[in-house]
Amino acid sequence: MNKLLSIPLLFLVLSGFGQQGNSFLEPSFWKENPSVKTIKKKIKEGHDPAALNDNAFDGVTYAINANASLESILFMLEQEGNSVDKITHDNRNYLMWAARMGNKPLIEHLIKEGSNTNLTDSHGYNALTFAAVAGVENMAIYDLLLSTGIAATSTNRSGANALHLLAGSMKNDALIRYFEQKGLSIRSLDHNENGLFHYAAQRGNIEMMNLLIAEGLPYRTLNKAGENAMILASKSGRRGSNGLEVFQFLDSKGVAADIVSWEGNTPLHGIAAGAKDEAIFDFFVDKGVNVNQVNEEGNTAFMLAAQRNNLKMLQKAEPYTHDINRRNHEGESAVILAVKSGAASTFEYLKTRGADLSFKDAKGNDIFYHMFQSHSKRNAKAFQTFLNAATANNLKPDSDTEILHIAVEKGEISLVKTALKLGAKINHRNEEGLTPLHLAAMKAQSNDILHLLLEHGADKGIKTEFEESAYDLAQENEVLAKNGVDLSFLKAN
């Protein structure tokens, strides 16, 4: 249910990599508000003003989102490959980004140039709802967007309209009155039966909650998942979690704190994810919330805190926990959940408290399987923590483990080396009948992993169930072909 209220905004900062060296794809370049002259110089130096990175952001998108000068944005727009109908990240056109930034002159320009005003992005937002979810308060922007024929009643996929989306951020009733005139109702509900009050609660917007109560809105109601405003406020989103004052406020208005949703969640399940203030935990315990309440997946707040690397809440819940190795319906204990999500702090703590590391989950997967699955460059440190703990406990991977396949799939040569060191069988076939060498031939970008596997005795002669050798598979690999990798070393003798 989290996702219905979670607001899909972008990871602009995170997505600056890729297309290495192209200044136009670096948010830092746009922060400096570069002049047209600087942009021209960069183009001359070979930086591509139309290139998209892996997340489908381009220079124009970054320029708009960094609020670059109109002159610079328009100049970028004129470059070949940057037409008004170009589709970028999450299926958005420039009009949607301009709407998000409330950039009136740019919106006017894009509309004049024939930008598609009917476009819906991959999260179900159009230009109007995207402006609303970004918290745009300038009515002139909405006037402009509505004048193109966009319906005021537009909703996202969860059925949230502009007022729902604005309820988290607006501080007075101006936009409520505005959208009422356009045909929206202050009492409208989304598909999950959340009203404006629920949305305001989720973001901890006390001013708006007071205003809506004064308007006579029902605010102690449950949505379709049996959640009241207290549970919604307890969930943390990308913007972080709500403070104690939000829960105290809701409590003072008679919104029940001791509540269990139809899915078995309490506010403690909610705060286990992200809250850092211990007083919030104590507040809910005082109000009678059962710390050991099990939700429909079989998880307690303690287990969710372990999963989300929330050490404070884990430690708060521990005294109430009878068995730290308790398992959910997938056979996962708190420590498995920590490994699965790369949560090093809660893992370390659970280890010192004697959590069982020799587990297997309901699918029979061991700790090695999960640490390989959760490995990424970004959390290589956590991986090392898990690996050290497992080996210090003399644990060994299952004999038919697929850690080598996982490592090959991730394309990380250091991870492949670790799997080999741990004794993974070099010619083991996975469910699809593929050996690690087959998989490497299919997914490789270069020949280094292939060579490494051969050095460790990978058999070139093994064929798939479709009679393909590793050489056959590598020959079909578009990236190896593009990089001109000589594959003759893979030929079976």
Partner: protein, 161 residues
């Protein structure tokens, strides 16, 4: 339930299912091999279309998070309305660049040789949606073989099972 009833019931079920497979359907081993593209895992739907290219039945969905199903807009507009049977039974894990998925396709014989098509459509997060990555006529003379894809799919292999 008393014993006689149970036996009758089992017998009927047996006859019905035997009858069904007689008129029935044909099973094919299907392998989807993706190109070595970079990016997130692909969502893939395999469906039967009629002669007018309208959806008739969803045979397989690769990708188990329904949140992303609308990213396959043509299929989604059918699927949402159809309120189809539970798709869990025909859902598998997504696959990413260079990877393959192997599964059994159960194709009803009445779709064969009368203008129906088999469609493989694909979508990758942050990238484009491809309505007809593979589209092939359901003809008994040509249904087994290797079929080139146009975008994320390198090829599809179908083999009578």
């Amino acid at each position: 339930m008393n014993k006689i009833h149970l036996i009758t019931w089992i017998a009927i079920t047996f006859i019905v299912s035997a009858f069904k497979s007689d008129v029935g359907s044909s099973q094919y081993k299907c392998m989807i091999q993706l190109t070595n593209y970079s990016g997130e895992g692909a969502y893939i739907v395999v469906s039967v279309l009629n002669a007018n290219k309208e959806y008739v039945e969803t045979l397989r969905v690769l990708g188990d998070d329904e949140e992303w199903y609308p990213d396959l807009p043509t299929w989604w507009s059918f699927f949402e309305k159809a309120g189809q049977e539970n798709v869990d039974a025909i859902t598998g894990a997504t696959i990413a660049g260079g990877e393959r998925s192997i599964f059994i396709l159960d194709i009803d014989d009445r779709y064969l040789d009368n203008g129906h098509f088999l469609r493989f459509e694909t979508s990758v997060e942050h990238q484009n949606y491809v309505e007809n990555d593979v589209l092939l006529p359901l003809k008994s003379s040509s249904i087994s073989g290797k079929f080139e894809g146009s975008d994320y799919i390198r090829y599809v292999r179908l083999i009578p099972n």
